[in-house]
Subunit: 436 residues, 2 copies
């Protein structure tokens, strides 16, 4: 038979079982946190009508979307979980209660060019709270507080949530009478990607006035404690209404975030954060891991005015944040923040002899009843091979159900780490294993 | 803005949050059972190279496969989890330990024609034990025993595992000197789909001899207790070696299944089960729910001689079974075996007043610390609307943090089911809620 070389496509992540176990633990932590905070789960098809996915009209997305070639329907793989949420809420509007608190953990697809650490198939873990016509601003504090709980529990590094309000920057541009703010925002979005001279140069193309340029750069670069930034913003005395509203929202959300249990040190007002150009309209968030800022934001999101204007006339404002889990896992691994050695699928390997098959199965059943993960090694093999298997699989104990000890309902129990070996009965073995 | 009608493609399942919760519970039960039995998890990309997926050569599969139209690569969505397992084990052969016990729960895609209860995107939940060169037959008893645990825990209906051995039927055909057994097996596979006259007629096309036809039909239709079937098989005194081996395997696996904790009543030898034509070579399994046999098999599988002959020269025999979760969920719902009313995402809704915002957040934190799922209703709304929301969401208790009671650090707690209402402090409320 002709052999086809077994391999996956480039740009896809595939893990070995032990890595998968750690990946699953992170995913479970995220899911459990979402559920503990009373978010409802939805799961939408990975394939949707292309017209739904591209309703907003395309740009980059159109090029990256995976189109499916099957019968005559125009269908594609989703590239995020937000468009499916918009479609879901519009479609099931009358079956849902608002505010609709939903979480969704699922794979999305983007045919980007190959690049280290960028995956074409990746998990997003999203929470959103969607209101019907209006949504109280306190939700803008709760959503990042839930994400904060996630990173606290993951316990890999301190997470710092950077917050800003889009109205502040827009209002400030108004006050400077800068009208081409889409172009200006596009440049500001690159502030972390170019050096300060280059940044000024790029911005000058859009803002010829040196005075306005100075003021804007001072504004978005202003750094200090949260208190100092608030004082700075107050003292600017900008009279633009949007700015005033943005400042009020920022203060309010900041205070509520503290009340929701976020440490003050984990909270940073950052006036340069914009999160793209069009979608977000109020609070915006990015999350950085202390000491690993170069990874970039590991959890981002913000407030939007209207989720689903392409699918319904109903106004559905919301606030959402998202973790890109696949990329996060890759980055945490690269940074040495993930320890796969500590985990395993099985704690006890049982080796039966000819006469002790039945006894071995009784041992197995009893161990499992006691919540101890165990398996029987059924294959014919030399002890060396079996112990090598246990070692590779990081199994903690090996039970050899020898025929002699069996008369007394005993067996040999070996601690694989210490090498200690006891002839022992089941009750004592369970105690020993459980208390290890 | 132009409105696009929000809808999903036909043949895809999408659930409301409460249904999703039940779906997740079933999925979690399956996953937990697999993990308790020391199966290792893998997760492969949903998109694979088409040449990998179709390595075996196509038939129906080629027509049903979802091809992806993106750059010049020939890639498609997987249509099962077995081909990806074969590719995975071959690709990572040197990084895995054997026997390799793997579970995989994931979505697969088949562009079948639209049909009620058939989905184009559906979950498969697979376990397989793959050996290196050889695999002990006791594994053939363990795999169905794990699946039996799943159905025991799901507790929707009694599951009966039907077992057979492919060698028996093949050996019996040998003994009758029936050579065209592929054609004959193809007919036998339809035994449950046509009436007995039609079945005989179809079989007669392949087997002209009335005598042989009678013998074969008696064989595959033989019914009785397991003991009676074993006695029948023994008394046939077929001398074909394959038959003798098949009978030995069947008896052995049957006995081990009992030792693995399967109730005798949940085990049925069924000589008509073949499970397709080419893949399985030994034990085969199908699972039926008592009283709901018309649903068909809810969990099937068997022993195969060689998992990955398309991808490696290494001989990898294995035993696997699979649950089609999406279809199972649909069928259980249709049969009225699923109760979505008993589940909810949130147990306590907290309603703050102007002055009790901070107090409400303290209540929230304390409830969550006590593992009680709670949320705050932040929106401005009349009580009627709020209680209606709680009712619709099946929230058990509503806390109204009134401004008067707040002086004494108390609040009103309403039991939504009984209507009972108490002014109570946090400690007593937690006791009351936890003991409800």
């Amino acid at each position: 038979m002709e052999i086809i070389k077994p391999s996956i496509l480039p740009g896809f992540m595939e893990l070995l079982p032990k890595e998968q176990l750690v990946f699953n633990q992170i995913k479970d932590t995220i899911r459990n946190t979402f559920e503990e905070n009373s978010f409802e789960n939805i799961e939408t098809p990975i394939i949707e009508k292309t017209e739904i996915l591209l309703a907003k009209g395309g740009g980059e997305t159109t090029k990256q979307i995976y189109n499916i070639d099957h019968d005559s329907r125009d269908m594609s793989l989703r590239f995020d979980l937000t468009v499916p949420l918009a479609r879901y809420v519009s479609e099931h509007y009358h079956e849902l209660e608002f505010p609709f608190r939903r979480y969704h953990i699922g794979k999305v697809y983007r045919g980007e060019r190959n690049q280290k650490g960028r995956y074409k198939e990746f998990y997003q873990c999203d929470i959103d709270i969607v209101g019907n016509n209006s949504l109280n601003i306190r939700n803008d504090a709760e959503v990042p507080a839930v994400m904060y709980q996630v990173f606290k529990k993951l316990n890999v590094a301190n997470a710092v949530i950077n917050i800003n309000n889009r109205k502040l920057l827009n209002g400030f541009l108004n006050s400077l009478e800068i009208a081409n703010y889409i172009e200006v925002l596009r440049v500001i979005d690159k502030i972390d990607k170019v050096d300060s001279n280059k940044f000024r140069e790029m911005l000058k193309v859009e803002i010829p006035s040196e005075d306005k340029l100075d003021k804007l750069i001072e504004f978005i670069s202003f750094n200090g404690s949260n208190e100092e930034i608030i004082t700075y913003l107050d003292r600017l005395e900008v009279s633009d209404e949007l700015f005033i509203l943005g400042l009020k929202e920022l203060k309010e959300v900041y205070n509520y975030m503290i009340l929701f249990g976020i440490d003050e040190e984990a909270l940073k007002i950052n006036l340069s954060i914009t999160r793209g150009l069009d979608y977000y309209t109020g609070m915006v968030f990015e999350t950085f891991l202390t000491g690993y800022e170069s990874i970039g934001s590991v959890c981002s999101g913000g407030r939007y005015e209207d989720l689903a204007s392409n699918f319904t006339k109903q106004k559905l404002p919301g606030i959402g944040m998202s973790i890109g889990l696949t990329r996060l896992f890759y980055q945490l691994s690269q940074a040495g923040l993930i320890n796969i050695e500590s985990e395993n699928y099985c704690d006890v390997l049982i080796v039966p002899m000819k006469k002790t098959n039945k006894f071995s199965m009784e041992i197995l059943e009893e161990l499992r009843d006691n919540k101890i993960k165990a398996q029987i090694y059924f294959e014919k093999a030399k002890f060396k091979k079996i112990f090598n298997y246990a070692d590779k699989q990081q199994i903690k104990f090996v039970i050899v159900a020898g025929e002699e000890e069996y008369e007394e309902k005993k067996f040999s129990l070996k601690n694989m780490k210490t090498g200690e070996q006891n002839v022992i009965d089941l009750k004592d073995a369970i105690n020993l294993i459980k208390n290890y």
